[in-house]
Amino acid sequence: MTNLKNWQMPVFITFLLLGLLITVQFRSQQNYLRDLPQQKTEDLILMLKKTNTKKAELEKELGDLERQHRLISTNVSEEETLIKQLRQDITRQKMALGIIPVKGPGITVTIDTPIAYFDMIDIINELWNSQAEAIAINNHRVSSWSKIYWSEQTRALTIDGEAVAFPCTIKATGDPEKLDSGLHLSGGVLDNLDIYGINPKIKKEKELELHAANQPNIEHLKATPTP
């Protein structure tokens, strides 16, 4: 046993050194492989070729992205234009329907004494005929579903369930000259009223403000489906 100890120690040390030596050499080999200056020229050329290929690929990818970007930017601006147009069209339709407040030049027609409902209809019709763009009777906006009638119960000229108070002021926006001359046509509305001693006062206005009509209560109407 003591004999064995004699050679065991040196062998152990030798193997230890051997192990360290192998490790160190392996490590340094690895580092050489990673270090560019340690590469062979052919390998460097190969690497350069690879980076060139990758660069070309990335450039292509970037080009694609830029193209898509341009395309989509056009789409975004087209969409913005469309949205703007739609909004304008919606406002116009709402103005036509009378469901938004409006302002503009026009005329006022002031009537002191009560008139018949058909006289009122005549005046409104004449104003539309003279290209009125919006009409209100005593701040009650006239729309295509306005009900102008004589109420037997209240014994009053009524618009949409509301008795028209006199003196009554009708406001109409549009060309003041045209509206004025429309009402003054010979044999027209004013001439007719004059027979009954009613002489409305007409005044051209620089700026009138008209309230909105209520939303219509639609029950039976629907758009014809387009094929």
Binding site: N3, L4, N6, W7, P10, T14, L18, L21, I22, Q25, Y32, T41, L44, L48, T51, N52, K54, K55, L58, E61, L65, H69, I72, S73, N75, V76, I83, R87, D89, I90, R92, Q93, M95, G98, I100, P101, K103, I121, D122, N125, E126, N129, A132, E133, A134, S143, S144, W145, K147, I148, Y149, T173, D175, E209, P216, E219, H220, L221, K222, A223
Partner: protein
């Protein structure tokens, strides 16, 4: 003899160590000494590769940013599409109301014609006193009937195919009647969408324009219908003087 026991393995190990050391030195020498004449070429290659690698990193960064911004744009477009759809729907609804589209629904058709028979009779009775205009349908008759239909809750009205909208005017144009400034003549067919019973009831009231014509002997009649179709308003809605008040 005892010495031999460990001498042999040691000899082998040392021998191997020797070989390993030599090969390691060889390797070190060959790597450390590339051919001197290609050294500058290798250096320039290395410089190029390093530049390339830096550029590649920049490219990757740019591509990343571009992809993000593209994704954002695509999302915006999708949001915009929803907005377009919503606005389009609202516009369609408004157009149905304002008369710019064809519409259908239940309602009534009112037939009106000049009282030719009445005129013939009057003429035969008193030729000098009988005036033909007293037996015609006039613009005012149509105008008042339209307003009577509105009192009855009419949601869409047309006269001889002319859609009557809010700003429509009905007036005398010489010997004809103008609706939306288009000339129309007898017989007159007024279509109205709405509750047929409600509208008929208003028209048949004693003092109504329709009833007055009926009493005077004009050939008039009302037909209730489950479904009638009314064409669109062909005119324009131009606002040259009026603008919306407040923000829209």
């Amino acid at each position: 003899m005892k010495l031999r026991n460990w001498q042999l393995p040691l000899a082998i190990v040392l021998f191997m160590t020797g070989i390993l050391l030599v090969s390691a030195l060889n390797a070190l020498q060959s790597e450390a000494e590339p051919e001197p004449r290609t050294k500058s070429k290798a250096e320039s290659l290395i410089a190029m590769i390093e530049t390339q690698e830096k550029e590649l990193k920049d490219y990757e960064k740019t591509i990343d940013a571009r992809r993000d911004s593209l994704a954002k744009h695509q999302k915006d477009i999708a949001t915009g599409k929803i907005e377009v759809q919503t606005l389009q729907y609202e516009l369609d609804q408004l157009k149905t109301l304002s008369g710019v589209s064809d519409v259908e629904g239940k309602g009534i058709t009112v037939f009106l014609d000049d009282n030719n028979k009445g005129y013939e009779i009057a003429k035969s009775k008193a030729p000098e006193q009988a005036k033909p205009e007293d037996f015609l349908i006039h613009d005012k008759h149509l105008l008042y009937i339209v307003y009577e239909l509105r009192v009855g809750g009419a949601e869409a009205i047309s006269i001889n195919g002319q859609r009557v909208v809010c700003s429509s005017d009905i007036r005398c144009m010489g010997t004809t009647i103008g609706v939306n400034t288009s000339a129309i003549g007898p017989p007159f067919v007024i279509k109205a969408i709405g509750d047929p019973d409600r509208m008929s009831k208003v028209l048949e009231t004693d003092t109504s324009q329709y009833n007055i014509l009926k009493m005077a002997g004009y050939p008039v009649r009302i037909e209730k219908q489950k479904k009638i179709t009314i064409g669109s308003y062909k005119g324009s809605y131009q606002f040259s003087y009026t603008e919306p008040k407040g923000e829209q």
